[in-house]
Subunit: 379 residues, 4 copies
């Protein structure tokens, strides 16, 4: 017998771990309802599973479909104060239609047409932009215009003002990643409007932040420490590409610095802490050489991946998909993920499979709750 | 015009920050629905408010009602493997009937009758017990039986085995605090059964953990560092009481070491880090001298308070209640709380108002998201 | 051939690792002398030994002799501004007659006669006082008079004003420990005079610092973090004694929380960091039960020990001494120390051997240079 | 009256802060001598000065003289096991002829002739190499050959094996910086011989460490954390130069990211901690534009500077020198240093004055003892 008493969900079963149904028990449960109480024994199975059991489902979104809808939105939906951004978020099928890629992470395609601007604001949510294709938009953080180009990772730590503008004659789309669901859940979020218009529309190739900070292992002596806010606002593809290539070259020379054979990966760092680039978000780029296959790996917390280049097949828990450039997929907590790099029908590229990945690992690490494991038995 | 397309909630309004309704827009939204997407502009008001806006509501639970229901549960609901604990949780009226006192915190009354046992298990959730009245139960952490008595705070860091037993002839009730909602949300939770029966039913006055660690400023040289797990398993009332009394005595001598005049407070520490006693939970005891009133204060994140002694009035946001011994109330994120210490009708005690409090501050501090402020204008 | 050219010591040998003597080499060495240069090859053996080779020697000072000289100094040497303290420091026989117990640590007996005062000052050197016998002096830190009694450990972090006064009718002597040699060497030392006279000559049993901080695991909520300065100014013997006794009791019950069988030890902690009580100094109390013997142990850095109670024999490197109450001995870097607890001729006490110890371990730990090892082969 | 009793230096004066001379005092002092004791009052002036008073003296070494002597040593002194390195160290005139540039820092010119090798060893001392001119030597750290070229900074954290070899046909000289005096003083030093010959004499343009780590803001995911050992073994001049140039360019555009107007500076970071590159050593490169002058600045601890390019005048305390490429000078603790960038007679270069600097700041910071200040009054 299963029942619901009032707004409080109560399971009245004769399962061995539940009390036997009776009139008295029903009265007790009505008492709980009246006093806004819920017994542990009715909920423990869901609240305290033996391993993390995600409400989120593994899912893949195809870039072509996303991009087409974003283009249509570009025609129909203006960008401006109030709506703030023409961003369209992944809504995990297990999370009740909310714009949450995973329980903690937001991932959206953002689209800015030729000549358009997105107005300045700031929020305590941590954010980044990642560019899978195109270029031509500058994001202005404070007074620093930062060019966005294919392969670039652009972190945006919380509570910094930022706006975007597209001075060119072609639209551009990219991926926004944020901790919106996490911040929404823990209720830590502040938001403030900034200037309505971008005043300085200069379009430098390199931002001030890069001129100050994109020198390997070097920091301005005059810089103040800021553990919450990374000072480097653009991680350029040329560096990421070179770092991945070097790992595979060293592997070919017999030096093991890859995650596993054929699988190179780099993590984006906060240069002043040497830790994850954002307080709540870990971001990485992975490269699996053509023909390579990664061992199933699972970890506490959830991830969103986007194919940056190449094609292949991905398995997450019981789901399996073919993936191509731009496709996104989510890996719920403790679900094993494995990746095969192989040519697809419409992929004439002979290169490796490159994947961008971001996760909520920092929140689990900070709480001493992070676990990860690799399954030895490859399927 | 407001509408819902499929499982995805979509607001189609002619508000200035929303696109104008049209057939094309409807088609676009149906596309979003089909592809599991949700636009930011339809959600931003809720997801990115200017200050934290809690789904939780301020609420007070009266101890007398709680305790009466717990007693009835003692008659009707057995304690054993599966249900694990006879714990009855506060279900915040704003959180949809789930057993969540706040979005991140669990608070429950647990009841163990004469001669009963609660079986051993462990979980990654961090926990503590706080005793507002009574004594006679021992919680066994690993192989260390820890007596529970009025005023004691007993932390239980994640992934340590623990059981309870009541060797006496009277039932006992206390408060459990955990990060169950937080762990449930971020999906980091592991659980494991231990022994079904308590093997060592010895009932020492002081636990081994106290014999090793309850010496002010002293650590065993042989102890290994364990930043996630506090080694001290009982913080006894005699120490807490003495520490609060000393702050008020020093204040009376002109030394300002209280939070504000007439308001003493101590925080429970992890002795090996000097920081909060549990990775996700801050715990404190407050004392407001008779006649005192605290200035409204609000902070990022939520708290649960329990009156330990005395009586008074509490205001949280728009809510105000009289409170007496054992009563619990919740303070949602960014809601101001203020407390008046005064005699109630059924409070012949002339003493101060003592309140136990726990909050989720550590998760906000670790993510560089913690803010607090005191309103200068007392009402 | 060994020679010295000018002020620069140069060894001209035909050892295989030194260049062959010649007129040209002599000219080269004179060039070095002229230009203030010294070649590595002439110094490497001393500067880069295979293991730490201390200039300090193991040495023991007998308390009776120290105390007698301190008493004489009490008659002859006034205490006052300029000399500041009637403190008589151990001068390690290997360190050239400087008042350095070890290369980094200062240890002195300080003596204050009935009615005397030592004027207020502050210095960046970290300090502590440890009382092996007697009582009756108050050290005033800021405006907090702290009683000193047998067995108490009283830390005094750098840059806090402090004075001493003896309001009674008996003199008192105790041990001062500081990082004077270290600070002198790294040249970080600042010093400032304070008030010439102790204004508040109150003599409370417990200091304000203890009233605020000597509650196990509890911190005032209103306290500011101060990682450099510990807020607890007295660690009382009753707590230290109880903590040591508990470790041995637990051992007798089959619980291993001692350093090794029969050898209990506690470390003094900074309650706000959970780490060592002072930035440069580790302090501990050890208890070896009657008949016990500790395994030889050596570590990077140096220590000073003082027998607090009981008697025994101590071996440090090649040295061995009998020790009784109050005797001090030093353990140079990487010299093994082992201790035997046994009755001496003039020790009718049947109890254990208690030893206070302080070392410079924190500076080695902070620089990632700390090593320690226990020799398996007991002699 | 000043006297020395035995090996212990004792000042017997009638200064107001010293006891009056007498027969009894003399007997007391002889007692101190006999028992290896020294009174504080005879030493406090030297040991506890009001501000750091360095034994080291400001001094400048001219590169031309150093280099000439190193060349001569190249002819006369072989490199090999035992002597280990043909390194000639600066001996500060205030430090008794020891090879100590400052009390804590070692600075030496090392010279390796065409075809020569320096054998492999490791030591717990932290080290770096800095190249003011020339190229052609590879330092082999573990199995990673690292090319050395003008302007490169090459850190060598403690306890890593390393050797050098010069496969070309020209000799090369560079600067070694180490914490030898500090490690010697605190007696933490371990040393071990490695292979006598360099086995892999490959001469790659870029080391493995750079291929893995010299990508701004990127870390290999597979890398283990190693806070004591920086994984990046070469900081190339092209990056340092670009970083300094960018600061001055930004300054010219009205953005203040320099230390002071006309004075750019970068610090070398440990990429996994974001802190100083070595546990005991801070290293920086400074650029003062032609005509610029830095405000006098002093700080706790000592520094060694080397002119990398350009010319100018330097004032340290009471000393003032002209400096040219390669010249080294030391700044003792708490001595103000100021620098003027100006053309010298033999400097036809129109560029800025570039200076490499290293200091012992990390040891003071870790001990909460670091202070620095700028004098407002420029001379």
């Amino acid at each position: 017998m299963t029942d619901t008493i009032g707004g409080i969900r109560i399971e009245m079963t004769d399962a061995p771990d539940q009390p036997a149904p009776s009139e008295d028990l029903l009265a007790l449960y009505r008492g709980f309802e009246r006093e806004l109480l819920v017994p542990l024994w009715a909920e423990i199975g869901e609240l305290m599973p033996t391993t993390p059991t995600s409400r989120a489902l593994p899912h893949r979104w195809e870039w072509s479909a996303l991009h087409q809808l974003a283009e249509q939105a570009g025609d129909l939906v203006p960008v401006g104060r109030g709506g703030e951004r023409r961003a369209i978020a992944l809504a995990n099928p297990g999370l009740g239609g909310r714009p949450f890629a995973t329980p903690t992470l937001w991932a959206a395609i953002q689209y800015l047409g030729a000549g358009e601007e997105a107005p300045e604001h700031r929020h305590t949510q941590n954010a980044f932009r990642f560019v899978v294709e195109g270029q031509g938009v500058w994001t202005v953080v404070g007074d620093d215009p930062v060019a966005m180009r294919r392969g670039d990772f652009l972190p945006q730590a919380g509570w910094n003002f930022h706006a975007h503008f597209n001075p060119g004659d072609a639209p551009m789309a990219w991926i926004d990643g944020l901790d919106i669901p996490y911040a929404h859940f823990v209720e830590s979020t502040f938001f403030e409007f900034g200037r309505d218009r971008v005043e300085d529309r200069s379009t430098p190739e390199r931002s001030k932040s890069e001129r100050l900070w994109a020198h390997p292992g070097l920091a301005p002596v005059a810089a103040a420490d800021s553990p919450g806010t990374t000072p480097l606002l653009a991680y350029r593809w040329e560096h990421t590409d070179a770092a991945l290539a070097a790992q595979l070259e060293l592997e070919a020379q017999g030096e093991a610095h890859t995650v596993e054979p054929g699988h190179a990966a780099v993590r984006y760092l906060h240069p002043q802490t040497g830790g994850d680039v954002l307080p709540t978000i870990r971001a990485e780029m992975h490269r699996v050489r053509r023909g390579g296959e990664t061992a199933p790996r699972r970890e506490t917390g959830s991830s969103v991946w986007q194919v940056f280049d190449g094609s292949g097949r991905v398995r997450v828990g019981d789901h399996e998909w073919s993936v191509n450039r731009g496709d996104l997929f989510v890996v719920p907590s403790w679900q094993p993920v494995s990746i095969v790099s192989e040519a697809s029908a419409d992929d004439s590229d002979s290169g490796a499979l490159d994947l961008f990945r971001f996760s909520d690992a920092p929140i689990h690490l900070a709480m001493h709750q992070f676990r990860s494991e690799t399954e030895d038995d490859k399927r």
